[in-house]
């Protein structure tokens, strides 16, 4: 303190050296103290800066709760599949399994009770377990599943047995709440977690991607429509004792598939081995496994349902200009081949009568005038020469006559023989027939208004308008009368084709199809129903043809799905057919 009291110059020289030393020491220690303070200051400043930086960072980014593994627990391993209204059709579901772990107890035997006692207690909980199999597993000393898919209450009961070796891990499985509904559309997931058959296979990569796991995949299917279609097809299949049935509901303006059913189906929750494969003997009998999709994978000769396509092609090409023109209706001899009709419809028929009565003879003549080149071009424009457009993995290739069509081939294709396509091909073609002439690919993805494909023009709008009238008149006066649903303005065409077998066509094995659209004044949906080998039963008045089995399906499905899809029945409305009505003489309509 004294050093500060005197100015440096005033210190006597006698003591200056000693003092100077002291001053040096003092200055040095002061410097050290200052330096230390600076260090501390720097550390504080650094800490303060870090804190400020953190606060600023949090202020800018916001506090993001890092759920980490907790958040992951809520994200399924495989994304959900939902219908167009967001109803889940396939979802991940965690269920308990019963797992035998013989190493659960480190010392002594693996089980506390005897295997017999445990088997008896387990059978009390699960009466359907096989006792011998269970005992074998318990005695083997090898780890393994004793049972999959346990209810929580059953898991509790197993827990109460007090056996440490009986574990019940929670495992993620794929679950389909609607059971077998839409099984062919959805497919299933095998034990390795790979999607099979349906959209599970088509969307497999998407469903397990991070984006697909958090956001459900939306299908174009409406599960209510799907259910109605399956219901009615199953009913008709039972009534007509058919081997199988298929159906599809398609939006004519977008190509979205609202329902796609193939019967008999399978339950994707419990896929049995014989759902997917058939024995060689069954295959030789022409049978297909239940997992086989008849709508997109199986090709059929669809018969008379092709006639409106031929007529539309002829109208479009201008080879039919006068609908009142009459063609001779006597059996047609082409070389060694003769084209017949099922009944005699008189000496001659006009185009309208041809469709109403479904005459092969006149259709063949119309196609003959049209020529094979133009008919083939129309068929190609309708996609009949390639696999159907849909996301499903199973898509059948049509039996398509390539090269130049000879005269007879042109004639048979005109009434749906000598060409085999899937029912989905037919649905897309009918959509183009009635929607103003635009063909669009079918899709199982829900489309926004902006995503609807432009499609390609196959028919003129005027041709489409004419075909709408003709289809409506077939249902009102012709072979399709059993498909009429009052107020829904249904139009459509029957088709009954004999199935080819060894050594020619089998006369008692038919493919009966009804291709319909409604409402005909402004078509919105195409409905196809198909029966595979229907039998004549009391319920079908001992008839096998489409008018008696496939057409009534449409009549029952349309009133169920129409109001759901925003089409209200109205008997005061219909398509204007007054200009064509004079072409059918009174009383000539089908009996």
């Amino acid at each position: 303190m004294n050093a500060h009291a005197f100015p440096l110059g005033a210190i006597p020289t006698t003591v200056s050296t000693g003092r100077r030393k002291l001053v040096n020491v003092r200055q040095r220690s002061l410097l050290v103290a200052k330096l230390r303070t600076l260090w501390i200051l720097a550390v504080f400043a650094l800490v303060g800066l870090l804190a400020l930086g953190r606060i600023t960072y949090l202020g800018f980014t916001g506090v993001t709760p890092s759920h980490g593994e907790l958040g992951d627990m809520l994200i399924p391993d495989r994304g959900d599949i939902v219908d167009r209204n967001g109803v889940p059709l396939a979802r991940d579901f965690r269920v308990y399994s019963l797992w035998f772990n013989p190493k659960a107890m480190s010392e002594g035997s693996a089980l506390i009770h005897t295997p017999e006692q445990i088997a008896a207690s387990l059978i009390r909980i699960f009466p359907d377990l096989d006792r011998d199999e269970l005992l074998g597993k318990l005695r083997s000393g090898k780890p393994g599943y004793l049972r999959k898919s346990l209810l929580p209450e059953d898991a509790n009961k197993v827990h109460a047995l007090g056996e440490p070796a009986l574990e019940f891990p929670l495992e993620a499985t794929r679950f389909y709440p609607q059971g077998s509904m839409g099984a062919h559309v959805l497919g299933y997931v095998d034990s390795y977690g790979h999607g099979k058959v349906g959209m599970e296979q088509a969307f497999n990569d998407k469903l397990i991607s991070p984006e697909g796991r958090t956001h459900p995949s939306v299908l174009s299917i409406d599960f209510r429509v799907q259910s109605a279609l399956e219901d009615e097809l199953a009913r008709a299949m039972q009534l007509s004792q058919a081997k199988g049935a298929a159906g599809v509901v398609l939006d004519v303006d977008t190509g979205e598939i609202l329902a796609l059913a193939s019967l008999p189906g399978f339950d994707p929750n419990h896929v049995k081995p014989n759902d997917m494969v058939v024995t060689p003997e069954q295959a030789a009998m022409g049978e297909v496994p239940h997992g086989f999709n008849r709508v997109t994978n199986q090709v059929y000769e669809l018969g008379s349902a092709f006639k409106p396509i031929t007529v539309a092609s002829a109208l479009d090409a201008g080879t039919i200009t006068d609908l009142s023109r009459r063609w001779p209706a006597q059996p047609l001899h082409i070389g060694k081949f003769t084209i017949h009709d099922t009944h005699n419809y008189g000496a001659s028929l006009n185009v309208l009568e041809t469709l109403i009565h479904s005459s092969n003879i006149v259709t063949a003549q119309i196609a003959d005038e049209l020529g094979g080149v133009r008919l083939k071009k129309t068929m190609e424009a309708l996609g009949m020469n390639e696999r159907p457009y849909v996301e499903l993995p199973a898509r059948g290739f049509p039996i398509w006559p390539s090269g130049t069509w000879p005269r007879l081939r042109t004639m048979t294709v005109a009434y749906g023989h000598g060409i085999a396509v899937t029912p989905l091909h037919l649905a897309s073609a009918y959509a183009a027939l009635v929607n103003g002439g635009i063909w669009r690919p079918a899709t199982l993805k829900k489309l926004d208004a902006s995503e609807v494909p432009a499609g390609r023009r196959v028919f003129k709008a005027s041709t489409s308008a004419r075909i709408r009238q003709l289809l409506r008149m077939i249902v009102e006066y012709g072979t399709g009368r059993k498909a009429d649903a009052p107020g829904f303005r249904v139009g459509g065409k029957t088709g009954s084709a004999e199935k080819p077998g060894v050594g020619g066509y089998r006369h008692h094995s038919l493919i009966a199809t009804f291709a319909a659209a409604f409402p005909m004044d402004k078509p919105r949906y195409v409905v196809i129903s198909m029966m595979d080998e229907p039998q004549g039963t009391a319920a079908t008045s001992y008839q096998r043809t489409a008018a008696w089995n496939a057409a009534p399906v449409v009549a029952r499905v349309v009133p169920r799905i129409g109001p759901l899809l925003g089409i209200m029945p109205d008997e005061t409305r219909d398509i204007d057919i007054s200009d064509l009505k004079p072409l059918i003489p009174a009383g000539s309509a089908e009996e």
């Binding site: 809520l74 609607q178 109001p563 005061t572």
Partner: protein, 185 residues
Amino acid sequence: MNFTSDRIRSIGWISTLVICGAVTLGLTLRVNAVKSQVHDADKRIVYVQQDIDFLQTEFQTRANQQALSDLNDLEFGYKAPVAAQYIEGERQLAALGLPAGPGAPAPIRYANAEQAGDGSSEGASLLAMVSPVTGATAAAMPQASAKSDSGRDSGRDPERDSLARDAAALGKRLAHIEVAEAVQQ
């Protein structure tokens, strides 16, 4: 004295540091306690969400279309409604009415007084705009802007009247239906 004050100062510093350290430690423990509470809550949320998913799936499975359809076949027997059960617009509704039979009670009518303030004056102005050619009632029109609309309004007027008449007739018929049902009951 110097020594003691230095000592006291360093003791003060040390004790301040210890207190700060203790407070920091306490705060850290508290923060971690809250964090683990949050984690617990998160865990419970996840479990509840899993329960919800489980229950949702159970409901969907129990209420699947096949089950509902079976229940309907067994219990209710509902069928798809037919065209006659739908009514589109007032005209179809009115068409359901029947003319009053002899001796039927008078239909109940509801009083409907038009307010002089808005409705009638608007009607009057519309009426005033009916004949813009003669100009007889043009003076009655308050605004020039209304004039430009006059041609269109004059065309609409009979339609309005007929709609009002229709509505009144419909009201009458509805009243009639109500009365008829009341008599039956």
